[in-house]
């Protein structure tokens, strides 16, 4: 029977079914860990006298609570609790034999940047991590789920998870991505179309010519935000772009193993006559740079448009949501988005903290000056990204433009470290969530691509590169 890539990967990993047939016990090929969602899981193991079944299929890094400002080698943040969390991770990894990339080490960084960069993320794998943006790894044709701490404990103990089979959704993009638009714009557009709950219960396969033309890094940006559409995961079938990226990376198979693996990966593609539970098609030919105006990622519009007016909204519930969002965001209906002034710009995160993202921002910032009142922070996604960016001189461009160049970490995307903004600050951010208070209590976030973020920094108001 014809099957899609999601079902193929799922079927390959089913160990058994629950007695009622409601859920499958799924084998997990790789488990990524970090300090914020794992301490209680390790503690649970210890209390129950259990051990880690496959430390060799687990890898940890320090990212959520670390300071990108202090870069204290061998330490955490200046916050004692953050330090305690980092210490707990180090102790847990040492005790259970899990490889850890600590602050200051060559491969430290945001967990979803580090995994792919090391070649750990490979097509056809099941990957989990106690972080919702685990969907990032779907860019390689892997089935990657964000999980909670109890499930982290379960995977540590058994290398498996009980899961109900997801519904499958094909999102097919057509047309050609216009110059100056990015994967971020593509995704904000999709979420605005289907809503933040639009893919609830589904795993998405992204398809179509525009996807084939995206680089691996852009594909990661796209899959990263699957969760913002409510999806359980999102993936892209592997192709030559995938193989070219993977080959030669530290954990990637080599020699005969590579040939055999590649043969296996090629069997994963969705069969021609396979079906999905839901299909969505979106033409991208007229796509413009997007920006969010509200308090969830679905509240997004092209930068060239204006703040929506709740009065024009026929649905009462929608009307209430828009009103609430505008109230929090302190925006008046009808205001052109380009007239919205910002106080801060953040470039980084597991969504847009990779080398291509930094290059795109640097291209805009080169030879330009950010006004002094716009605090701009650039945070590389990993130590490797930082090293390579510096080798290309990107750090010099950022600093010359007036931006701060930091050390790797989740930084202002999660604001559970020493990076957070003051109440009332308005920030254009390349991260993934514009929820109330996400970047600090009372902070107003506008999600944008790195290009749009850089243009906004220079002009001091929401703007696309064309406005320069």
């Amino acid at each position: 029977m014809a099957r899609n890539i999601i079902d193929k990967i799922w079927d390959r990993h089913v160990l058994t079914q629950s007695p009622d047939g409601e859920s499958d016990l799924l084998y997990i090929d790789f488990h990524l860990l970090h300090e914020a969602s794992s301490p209680q899981a390790f503690e649970g193991l210890r209390i129950a006298g259990r051990t880690v079944r496959r430390p060799d299929l687990s890898l940890a890094t320090e990212d959520h609570v670390v300071s990108t400002r202090l870069n204290l080698l061998g330490s955490g943040d200046d916050n004692p609790i953050a330090r305690e969390m980092v210490s707990a991770l180090r102790k847990n990894c040492a005790e259970f034999g899990i490889a850890l990339h600590s602050l200051g080490s060559a491969d430290q960084g945001i967990v979803h940047v580090v995994g792919p960069q090391l070649g750990i993320t490979q097509p056809g794998m099941t990957i989990v991590c106690g972080d919702s943006h685990t969907s990032t790894h779907g860019a390689f044709g892997a089935l990657a789920f964000g999980i909670g701490t109890s499930q982290v404990e379960h995977v540590l103990a058994s290398q498996t998870l009980w899961m109900t089979r997801p519904k499958t959704m094909a999102v097919t993009f057509t047309g050609k991505l216009p110059r100056g638009t990015t994967a971020k714009d593509l995704m904000l557009h999709l979420i605005a179309e289907i809503g933040t709950g639009g893919a609830q219960g589904f795993v998405i396969e992204y398809r179509g010519e525009p996807i084939r033309e995206l680089s691996m890094e852009s594909r990661m940006t796209l899959c990263n935000m699957s969760i913002e559409a409510g999806a359980r995961a999102g993936l892209i079938a592997p192709d030559r772009t995938t193989y070219d990226y993977l080959r030669g990376r530290p954990y990637a198979p080599a020699g005969d193993d590579w040939t055999e693996s590649k043969h296996n990966w090629e069997q994963l593609l969705t069969d021609d006559d396979a079906t999905f539970d839901r299909e969505v098609t979106l033409d991208v030919s007229d796509l413009e740079p997007f920006v969010t105006w509200g308090i969830n990622p679905g509240q997004a519009l092209p930068v060239s448009s204006s703040v929506p007016d709740p009065v024009g909204e026929p649905d009462a519930r929608q009307r209430e949501q828009i009103t609430r969002a505008l109230d929090y965001m302190d925006l008046a209906p009808g205001t052109p988005l380009r007239d919205v002034a910002v106080d801060a710009v953040f470039i980084g995160s597991c969504t847009n903290g990779r080398l291509d993202d930094l290059r795109a921002a640097a291209e805009i910032l080169q030879g330009r000056q950010i006004p002094e009142h716009v605090t701009t922070v650039v945070v590389p996604g990993s130590a490797e990204v930082k090293r390579r960016a510096e080798a290309e001189g990107l750090d010099v461009i950022f600093e010359a433009a007036g931006a701060q160049w930091r050390s790797p970490g989740c930084s202002l995307c999660v604001a559970m470290n020493d990076d957070f903004l003051e109440p009332g600050t308005r920030c254009a951010s390349t991260s993934n969530r514009n929820f109330e208070g996400r970047q600090g209590s009372g902070v107003r976030t506008h999600l944008v691509s790195p290009t749009t973020a850089a243009a906004t920094a220079v002009l001091g108001h929401l703007a696309s590169a064309n406005d320069l």
């Binding site: 160990l15 058994t16 629950s18 009622d20 409601e22 016990l25 084998y27 090929d29 914020a36 969602s37 209680q40 503690e43 129950a48 259990r50 060799d56 299929l57 916050n79 609790i81 953050a82 305690e84 969390m85 707990a88 750990i120 972080d131 919702s132 964000g146 999980i147 909670g148 701490t149 109890s150 499930q151 404990e153 379960h154 058994s158 498996t160 009980w162 109900t164 933040t196 709950g197 609830q200 409510g230 359980r232 530290p250 954990y251 990637a252 198979p253 693996s261 969830n296 949501q321 609430r324 999660v414 604001a415 559970m416 957070f420 969530r433 929820f435 109330e436 208070g437 996400r438 209590s441």
Partner: protein
Amino acid sequence: MQKVTSHRGTAIALPQSNIDTDQIIPARHCLTTKRSGFAPHLFSRWRLDPDFALNDPDRSEATVLVAGANFGTGSSREHAVWALQDWGFAIVIAPSFGDIFYTNCGRAGLLPIRLAPDSHAQLVDDVLNDPQLQIQVDLLEDSVEWSGRREPLLIDADLRRRFIEGLDDIDLTLAYDQVIADFEKKHARIPMTRK
């Protein structure tokens, strides 16, 4: 996990859609290595508003949260579930839930119940009108009862069984140790070691 077959209690209603886990418990209050101590920070920013439902002294004993659609969307932080439990909630009723939040509820023992949109809208109205309204949830009967109404509850069969039997998830899985070992042998991947 503790067994739950039925529950009776009063409720708080937060009917707006898309309440994300960052609202339930902001990230900075997840700075801990513990599973408890979150109650003071539950909805911490919204609680600054004296009119916010959690600040209503008539509802301080509530154990049922009646929430809007797509409740618990966003971050995978299980701290959101722990915080609701720390406050005293045993049940969350909504038309739909964020997927990871829903799973986390099932693992941590906070019972997530879905109601059909019409029944849910009625329940929201009734809860808003009466702080003392008693809600009876019965998993064995698959029903939610209040004010003489009786509506069918919706829950994944898998989760329903977990609550009724009070299963320890990991113990259950480790009983399949041989199946896991056989799979590992048969499907031994190319070893994931650094070159």
